[in-house]
């Protein structure tokens, strides 16, 4: 077991505590984020959103806006030269709506003006006549035949299933069956940087976009098709990203297309920066799920059958719902062996804010359900939660719910053992059940665990590229088609190149992604960056090394196999040259110093008819433990201690890895206790961080991180993934701890004061917070 600092490290830079390659720029304020880019003569763009969640647009009159001084363009759907909508899976999201609006984040018109104030003023002068339609706000009702339609071809956005064994036989083999419903809320990514882009007309008749974008290539495709431009005339450059967590993906196409339209119409650079309120209103969220689990168990505590039905709210557009719900269906039984499985997941269109990718990608919801359920089963059987899990966890060679045989080392039990022994789980868990009734403060302890498929799996084409260019002074420029959104990809990739070429990592400059520099590497999602780009960086480094090694051998008069690349030197026995000398010599001999590494993921398979196949090429495992104090007079929950153990294959950068875990736990705590994006009849009930509460520095418990290094042969140096696993099981560990403290189970997130105290949420008045203040003013 590698605890904090992995031992026996045979690498020069891999696995050490390396500072981020971009840290200096960020701490000095020098790093340029989307909104920090400006050009002389730039205009400011603004958007007119729909006031209605569902309505027919009867007319749009822009005359008064156009007449205003300082307004350079007012555009509607009629001004779009190419495709009117975009979308990677279902291309139905409108850049500017015509006909119908489907949620309050839909845009009807855009303007470009000399100042931001003028742009806002022009927006107010645009007159739109709507005829409101009945609002579809409940996903379950949306699927009933009598529901009004959000999209003409029906409200069903996605349906996936998994069938294994025979569910009836499974229940027959069970000694008892329990059935519960769990629900999770809609949450916002809440990256601290709101979306921002700058679009400039290009010299070649095209457009260049610089901004807070996570998936450059899908955005480029959307902009090109909306503007009727060939792909090579649309250049998308990633600005330093102020957080994303899945939230600035393809949907950024909307703001990018709008800015590009305005720039090409006016012939001037156009900057568009969202306020927090706009960002909250428009940007997609994490899917809320309603999950019904019926589970059969035999008296010895062995799972026999699981019948699962999940309804997800996709909101107004498909975005990535198909893929998100697919991951849920694959992992819905949790990391357990279940012989008989029947799972169905449906995503429904509604007039709520749409939902898409967010850290976890369909796993935090099901982790909450399954991990709560395991504790409930344990209680029924009189087992402790740890023992209950051990009897059912996936082990080496186990078969998953989709029929996949696990051929790598399965480290789930080890992860569970680590957190329970480090946290003294069993003794505390038992003691907490007999607490002094006089004190209102009750202690609780809870655990959770998960398995997670690495990278995209059978949901999409999966490949990535890394470019390396060695300079004649021994420094190097590295770039990648996957982006650094704060998770540290730039550092990880640089470290791999440094390790392979024997460079010190401060000799590397990592360039932000740019579509004209790197080929399409697909989306930066699914915690795939370390794995995919790490492997691509290894491939590229090897190509380059193989090319320059013979020159070094020649210079040092030895065999290429005798060379050692390390600390900016190449040595053979006692003689050595610097990497700079070698690079300069290669240049003199006309040998190329740049290389491009491409890595395609191993094969996966999937049969949609019955939901079987090798869904992911490998999995990661983790376990969490939370300790809480609950005040039973107020319902207030304080998390006092947290332990998080993850098998990451191999730790590439200990600083970066621990940072991912701490951040994941914080986000999971917000999910468990605080965060909920509230809507009523399709109208958002909150718009900023005064009402959407995030964990602050004062909320954070003492957190212990334990890494397991299971060494996956497929990963770079054995590394796998961490960003999402670190987040997905925090909430259920906390929920289980609260149940241990209070003796009462809450099956809905978040665990607000009322839910903990009364077991249900109080229905808030129609107007709260800023809405109420506004009502009082008028």
């Amino acid at each position: 077991m590698a605890k904090e600092n992995p031992q026996g490290n045979k690498f020069n830079v891999i696995g050490k505590a390396s500072p981020r390659v971009d840290a200096i720029d960020k701490v000095t304020g020098r790093a340029r984020y989307g909104a920090d880019h400006s050009r002389t003569g730039q205009l400011y763009g603004a958007v007119l959103n729909s006031p209605y969640p569902h309505a027919i647009i009867k007319s749009i009159n822009t005359e008064r806006a156009r007449a205003l001084d300082g307004i350079r363009a007012v555009l509607t759907h009629a001004d779009i030269p190419g495709a009117k909508s975009f979308g990677g899976i279902v291309p139905h999201q409108m850049v500017l709506c015509s006909g119908k609006v489907r949620y309050v984040g839909d845009a009807v018109a855009i303007v470009a003006a000399e100042t931001p104030e003028l742009a806002d003023k022009a927006i107010e002068l645009i007159e739109v006549e709507y005829s409101p339609c009945p609002v579809v706000s409940d996903p379950e009702q949306a699927l009933s035949p009598s529901s009004p339609l959000v999209h003409e071809d029906g409200n069903l956005c996605a349906h996936h299933k998994v069938r294994k064994g025979d569910i009836e036989t499974g229940f027959k083999n069970s000694d008892f069956v329990i059935e519960h419903e769990y629900t999770t809320q809609k949450v916002e990514h809440a990256y601290i940087e709101p979306e921002a882009v700058l679009a400039e007309p290009g010299e070649n008749g095209g457009v260049t976009i610089t901004g807070s974008v996570q998936n450059l290539y899908s955005i480029r495709r959307a902009v090109a098709s909306v503007l009727n431009l060939p792909l090579n005339r649309v250049r998308v450059i990633q600005a330093t990203l102020g957080g994303s967590f899945g939230g600035k993906d393809e949907a950024m196409s909307a703001i990018c297309c709008r800015a590009a339209l305005l720039a090409l119409t006016t012939g001037r650079p156009v900057k568009m920066v969202n306020t927090r309120e706009q960002s909250m209103r428009e940007s997609y969220k994490r899917h809320p799920y309603k999950m019904r689990y019926k589970v059969g168990v035999s008296n010895d505590g062995i799972l026999q059958a699981m019948e699962i039905k999940i309804i997800a709210d996709a909101g107004a557009y498909a975005a990535t719902s198909q893929f998100v719900t697919w991951r849920s269906v694959v992992q819905a039984t949790g990391p357990y062996v279940v012989p008989h499985v029947k799972t169905d997941i449906y995503a429904a269109y509604t007039n709520n804010c749409y939902t898409g990718a967010m850290r976890g990608f369909g796993s935090p919801q099901i982790c909450f359900a399954v991990e709560s359920l395991m504790d409930e089963l344990a209680a029924q059987l009189g087992l402790d939660p740890f023992e209950m899990r051990l009897r059912n966890t996936l082990k080496d060679g186990s078969i998953t719910a989709t029929g996949q045989k696990l051929t790598h080392r399965v480290t789930l039990d080890e992860a569970l053992r680590n957190v329970t022994s480090a946290g003294g789980f069993k003794a505390k868990w038992l003691a907490n059940r007999e607490q002094d009734s006089a004190s209102p403060i009750k202690k609780g302890i809870g655990i959770s665990c998960s398995y997670r498929g690495v990278s995209l799996g059978a949901e999409g084409a999966d490949a990535a590229g890394v470019g390396i260019s060695l300079q004649t002074d021994g420094s190097a420029v590295v770039t990648c088609g996957l982006v650094d959104m704060g998770q540290g990809a730039a550092t990880t990739i640089s470290l791999v190149v440094a390790e392979e070429l024997g460079l010190s990592s401060d000799k590397i400059v990592f360039l932000n992604a740019d579509t004209t520099v790197m080929p399409d590497s697909g989306p930066t999602v699914a915690s795939r960056t370390s794995f995919m780009a790490g492997n691509a960086a290894r491939v590229g480094s090897t190509i380059l090394k193989d090319r320059i090694a013979p020159v070094a051998a020649d210079m040092l008069k030895c065999k290429a196999s005798a060379l050692v690349f390390c600390h900016d030197f190449i040595s053979a026995g006692s003689s050595r040259i610097t990497l700079a000398q070698l690079a300069a010599e290669c240049f003199r001999r006309g040998i190329s110093l740049s290389a491009h590494g491409w890595y395609k993921s191993p094969k996966t398979t999937w049969r949609e008819e019955d939901g079987t196949g090798d869904a992911y090429f490998t999995f990661v495992y983790g376990a969490n433990l939370a300790e809480v104090e609950v005040d039973i007079h107020t319902g207030r929950v304080i998390v006092t201690k947290f332990i998080s153990c993850h098998d990451v294959g191999k730790v590439l950068n200990i600083n970066g890895a621990k940072g991912q875990v701490y951040g994941g736990v914080a986000m999971g705590m917000g999910y468990a206790l605080l965060e909920a994006y509230a809507e009523e009849d399709g109208q958002p009930k909150l718009g900023n961080f005064d009402e959407y509460l995030l964990p602050t520095i004062c909320d954070m418990p003492q957190t212990e991180v334990i890494f397991l290094e299971g060494d996956d042969p497929l990963g770079p140096y054995g590394a796998k993934a961490l960003g999402e696993p670190a987040n997905e099981i925090a909430a259920p560990a906390i929920a289980n701890a609260v149940a241990n403290a209070t003796g009462r189970r809450v099956r809905e997130l978040p665990l607000t004061l009322e839910r903990v105290l009364l077991g249900k949420n109080l229905i808030p008045g129609r107007e709260r917070g800023s809405a109420m203040a506004k009502g009082a003013e008028s």
């Binding site: 840290a23 909104a35 005064d690």
Partner: protein
Amino acid sequence: MKVRFKLNGKFVMLDLPGVERLIDLLRERLDLVGTKEGCGKGECGACTVLLDGKPVCSCLMLASQIAGHEIVTIEGVAADNRYAHILNAFEETGAVQCGYCSPGMIVSAAALLARNRHPSDNEIKRALAGNLCRCTGYSKIIEAVSRAAERVAQERK
């Protein structure tokens, strides 16, 4: 209206239009874009600057309010050797991920360490309670600030 104030150690004289937020003056007119906007409502702390040594949200202040006062932004902090320990500690410990909150965090930390050389973890938490970070889970930020304090203390010995 003409106003005179001190900005990052230098006196500045500027013409101010009627209503302009301090953050817009800094970012849009003076190109000091190290100061970030995350909420525009005083909730996230990304826009924190020092006003006469005290941390304030520049999104909540009007530019005209700074007449006769001294403003220090992250650019000023970064250029001032007295604060080098804080920047280094943030870099080394991994207290920076996406970095969008970092300028505000560092400015708040600078204000704290200027008035309290040996802050406890709780004092650090209280000083940074107004700065939201979505990436780091804050652990490394606390570590960075206490490491910076230790270094300052060592140097003074």
